[in-house]
């Protein structure tokens, strides 16, 4: 893909990112950080490409190191975020949601 198309995508995603993340409630800032952290673990895809095209042992060794590090990032990030959100999701969601919708009605 040419440089201009990639730049276009980059700029548009910056706006999408700001838009989506500025709506996150401050209660969930810790899961946001660990969730975003998990998402950048997708560098695993790049690591797989590099390791899969390795033409000698050195490149393969370092490619596999990158695969290992990024797997830890990706898997660990999603698991730990899920654990945190499980504690938020389990209980008492309904009363809060109810009061919130009441507030919205009042507005």
């Amino acid at each position: 893909m040419d440089a201009m198309s990639l730049l276009t995508i980059f700029v548009l995603v910056v706006f999408v990112g700001f838009e989506v993340v500025s709506k996150v409630s401050s209660t969930l800032h810790t899961p946001l950080m660990s969730g975003a952290n998990a998402i950048h673990g997708i560098i695993l895809v790049g690591a797989i490409i590099v390791a899969g095209q390795a033409e000698n042992g050195w490149v393969l060794a370092f490619g596999l190191l990158a695969v290992l590090l990024s797997t830890v990032n990706l898997v660990g990030g999603f698991v730990v975020t899920d654990r945190m959100l499980e504690m938020f999701a389990g209980r008492k969601v309904t009363p809060k949601a109810a009061t919130e919708s009441k507030k919205e009605d009042a507005r």
Partner: protein, 457 residues
């Protein structure tokens, strides 16, 4: 093995990109957050399966084995980690991600197609190694392997400047020549920069650095996407870069600081480490039983929890005390400072773990006007976030940080281990005020005694 068409590959990557956006969007409400995260994880699985089928790769058994090993390391650690240790785990995951991106860029050096990708490779190697080294130092500080005090040596700004300039020069050579030697030199300089960048950052500011480094790693992943021509990496990395940037700004605002002030503040000597001397001025201390009587006569109680509450593992006792008081018709709310704990929103996670319902957790702006009418404020394991020095003494390192307005309450009870100052190392004048009483001891033990006494009232 059959290979997917480029169109189908791009389509599946698009699906994964959308899944990541939905994952972040889910976090706008606690109700949808968990589902959002699962959608994100699904997107990641789709992306990884897609890359395997997108070309005829070699070494697939090795790669699969490595992924299995990585998962076997990460999953149990993530399942077992205590919620108080979450910040250092996030720092660690962030560091390994940055390291992985730097390695990928280094290995792509020999396949450069244009000066553009040379620039992206140089950027990824430099920022990825800064993020890796910086995250490791952050981890060491939070884990207590290193002192949390800012580490500064004479001439540090000069050394820092020289290292940065050398790294940029090496980067120029990488772009011009594509030589591995220069790339390795830049990698080494990036690691040194990371250490020098985080070393001078003092205790209370460390969470902001995690968030900043998170944004850095996101941008390196985005740049790797440019190098490999992979749109998914570009989108995912950019999303993380954007979220990290917003979060860093939000946190800095919650502490009344500028991001540049945190990173460069220590160089100018205005760090968060103030006096760590323990004063011997008189304070009023009382017993848990006295506190129970005080609570028994109260109508409105506000609890201000801090990281110390979680360190003592006293969240559950605190939650039970709140329920017991409510059963006696006493109104209890929790006032949560945005930077209570070790990362933004950390205290909410810790209290959610202890089954404290949402509706009693109030944010700073919401709870501040209520202190005037509160009968008793219980400050458990918090210090800097209620320190009036942030309002009254312009010379204080925390001056300008928005605080919980505890000093306007009728009675303030501090649960403290000792007279030692908080994470930021500044003395708290509120401890010596006439309306303040202190209960010394382990928060869990003293709260348990208060709870028993309240039940017997």
């Amino acid at each position: 093995m059959s290979v997917l068409s480029p169109e189908l590959t791009a389509g599946l990557y698009l699906l994964a990109s959308v899944a990541f956006i939905l994952a972040l969007r889910g976090l706008s409400s606690p109700k949808t957050a968990r589902r959002g995260n699962l959608i994100g994880a699904f997107g990641a699985v789709v992306a990884v399966l897609t890359v395997f089928l997108s070309a005829n790769f070699e070494n697939i058994p090795w790669i699969l084995l490595t992924i299995a090993v990585g998962s076997a390391i990460a999953a149990p650690v993530s399942r077992r980690v205590q919620m108080t240790q979450m910040p250092q785990l996030v720092a660690l995951f962030n560091g390994v991600g940055g390291g992985a991106a730097a390695i990928v860029a280094l290995l792509e050096l020999s396949h450069l197609s244009s000066p553009w990708s040379g620039l992206a490779v140089a950027f990824t190697i430099l920022v990825g190694s800064v993020s890796f080294a910086g995250s490791c130092i952050t981890f060491a500080k939070l884990q207590g392997l290193m002192p949390t005090k800012p580490l500064i040596f004479p001439g540090q700004p000069v050394v820092m400047g020289a290292v940065l300039i050398a790294a940029l020069v090496a980067g120029g050579f990488v772009i011009a020549t594509g030589s591995l030697g220069w790339a390795l030199a830049m990698l080494a300089l990036g690691l040194v920069t990371g250490v020098l960048l985080v070393n001078p950052v003092g205790g209370a500011d460390v969470p902001i650095v995690i968030s900043l480094l998170n944004a850095f790693t996101g941008l390196t992943v985005a740049a790797s996407g440019l190098v490999l021509g992979n749109v998914l990496l570009l989108v995912a990395g950019t999303l993380v870069g954007a979220s990290g940037t917003i979060l860093t700004q939000a946190m800095a605002a919650a502490m009344g600081r500028k991001v540049s002030g945190i990173i460069f503040g220590a160089f100018r000597g205005g760090s968060t480490a103030g006096s760590t001397t323990v004063s011997d001025r008189p304070v009023r201390s009382s017993s848990p039983e006295d506190v129970a009587i005080l609570l028994g006569y109260a109508q409105r109680v506000i609890v201000v929890p801090g990281y110390g509450l979680a360190v003592a593992q006293a969240q559950h006792t605190m939650a039970e005390l709140a329920q017991t008081l409510e059963a006696k018709g006493i109104e209890v709310v929790f006032g949560i400072h945005p930077v209570a704990g070790r990362m933004p929103g950390h205290m909410n996670v810790l209290l959610a773990e202890a089954n404290v319902p949402y509706e009693v957790l109030q944010e700073m702006d919401e709870v501040n006007p209520q202190f005037k009418t509160a009968d008793v404020v219980l400050v458990v394991g918090a210090n800097d976030v209620v320190n009036p020095a942030a309002k009254s003494s312009p010379g204080s390192p925390i001056f300008g940080m928005p605080i919980l307005d505890v000093s306007s309450a009728r009675q303030v009870v501090f649960f403290k281990r000792s007279m030692r100052p908080g994470f930021a190392g500044i003395e708290n004048e509120l401890l010596y005020e006439p309306q303040t009483t202190l209960v010394f001891g382990d928060a869990k033990e003293t709260l348990t005694k208060v709870l028993t006494a309240v039940k017997n009232l």
